[in-house]
Symmetry: C2
Subunit: 205 residues, 2 copies
C-alpha cells in the first residue's frame, strides 16, 4: 500500500479513514448534545446559540430538530407513542452518524419518554461517542404562557392530539448531565454545555 | 445583538448559523456523492478511497452505506421493494442533512430503482446542494464471479430473496454524472469524482 504524505503532514497508512485519523485531522472529537424538554421550553434557542458558539471555536456542529427531521427523514411518522419513539430513534441514529463523522450533533427534540432517551445514550456510549443530555426544565405553566406557536391553546381546545404536557406525559430525566431552568439564560446554558464538551475532549478547555 | 470578532476573522451578525457562514468557516460547500451499482460491483472500494482522498484535501467526508445504515437507522427495514425504497429514502435524507452540515456524504448503496435515486437527487437539488451520481457499472457476470460475501451463490440456491441481479431487477441509471466501468481503476474513479466536486465548488480546482 502506498503512503502519501500531504501538506498537512498527515500520513495515511491504510485506505479507510478511521475515527482516530479523522479526529486528528479535525482537531477534535465528535459528540451528540441532546436537548429534551416540553414544547416551548427553550430548547431551540439554546441549540441555535450552541451551534454558533461551537462554530466560533472551530467545531462544526449541526442541529437536528423537529423541523428538519419531521420535514424529511421522519416525514412519514405521526405523533402516537410508537411514532414518537421511532422519531427519537432515528434522531439518535442520525446523531450517532454525525458524531462519528466528527461533528457535534445538537439534537433538539421534546423526546418525552425516558426509554427513548436512554436508548439514544446507550447507542452513543456503545459506539464510544460522548453524549451530553441537557434537560431544559422550564415548567409547563411557563411553556404554556409563552406558547409561540399556539400549540398549547389548540391542545386545550382539543384540536391537537398527543401534545406533550397536555394529552401526553413528559417523563423528566433523572440523570441528565445538565439542567437548564428558567433562571438560566440561554448564553449561560451554552457555557455549561461547552464545559461539558471540554471535559469530554470535544473542545479544548 | 452583540457582534463578536474571532481569531478566524469571522464576524457573526446573527444567532443562527447559515449555510453560507458555515461554508465560509469550512472553506468549502457540502455535497452528496451517490454510488449505485450491483452488489460486489466495487462501490465500497471507491467510497472508502474517496473519503480518504477528500480528507487529504481538508474536506470532511463520511460514508453512508449498507453496513452502517442497516445496523442502525434502517435496522427496522427488510428487503422487499417498499423497504428498499424506504432504505434509499432515509439514506438520501441523511445525506442531505450531512451535505447541509458541510460534509461530503458518500452514499454507497445498491439503490436499484431509478425512482428512489431520482428522488434523492431532487431532494438535494431542491435544497441547493450538489448531488453527484456515480454508476459503478460492473456487469452482473463479473460481480457474480467476485461474490466476496457468497451472496450470489446463496441467491442462486434460492436462499436469499430479493437479491438484486438475481431475483430483483437493477434499473441502470440514465443520467449519472459518472460511469465507472470495470476498466476504470478505483483511483481513477476517485479522480473523476474529485473533478466533478471541483466543478461544483466543493473542492478547489
Amino acid at each position: 500500500m502506498t503512503r502519501r504524505r500531504q501538506s498537512e503532514g498527515v500520513v495515511w497508512e491504510q485506505e479507510a479513514l478511521t475515527r482516530d485519523r479523522r479526529q486528528e485531522l479535525l482537531g477534535h472529537r465528535g459528540a451528540t448534545v441532546w436537548l429534551t424538554g416540553l414544547p416551548a421550553s427553550g430548547k431551540s434557542t439554546v441549540a441555535a446559540k450552541l451551534v454558533v458558539a461551537l462554530a466560533e471555536r472551530g467545531v462544526n456542529a449541526y442541529r437536528l430538530d423537529g423541523d428538519n427531521l419531521r420535514h424529511g427523514l421522519c416525514g412519514d411518522l405521526g405523533f402516537d407513542h410508537a411514532s414518537r419513539e421511532e422519531n427519537v430513534r432515528r434522531a439518535a441514529e442520525t446523531g450517532r452518524l454525525m458524531a462519528d463523522a466528527g461533528l457535534v450533533a445538537v439534537v433538539s427534540l421534546v423526546s418525552p419518554y425516558a426509554a427513548g432517551r436512554g436508548a439514544a445514550r446507550c447507542l452513543h456510549e456503545d459506539a464510544g461517542l460522548p453524549f451530553v443530555e441537557v434537560w431544559v426544565s422550564t415548567p409547563l405553566e411557563e411553556c404554556e404562557r409563552r406558547d409561540p406557536k399556539g400549540l398549547y391553546a389548540r391542545a386545550r381546545r382539543g384540536e391537537v392530539a398527543h401534545m406533550t404536557g397536555v394529552g401526553d406525559p413528559y417523563e423528566a430525566p433523572e440523570s441528565a448531565e445538565i439542567e437548564v431552568g428558567t433562571d438560566t439564560p440561554a448564553d449561560a446554558a451554552v457555557e455549561l454545555v461547552l464545559t461539558a464538551l471540554a471535559e469530554r475532549g470535544v473542545l479544548e478547555r
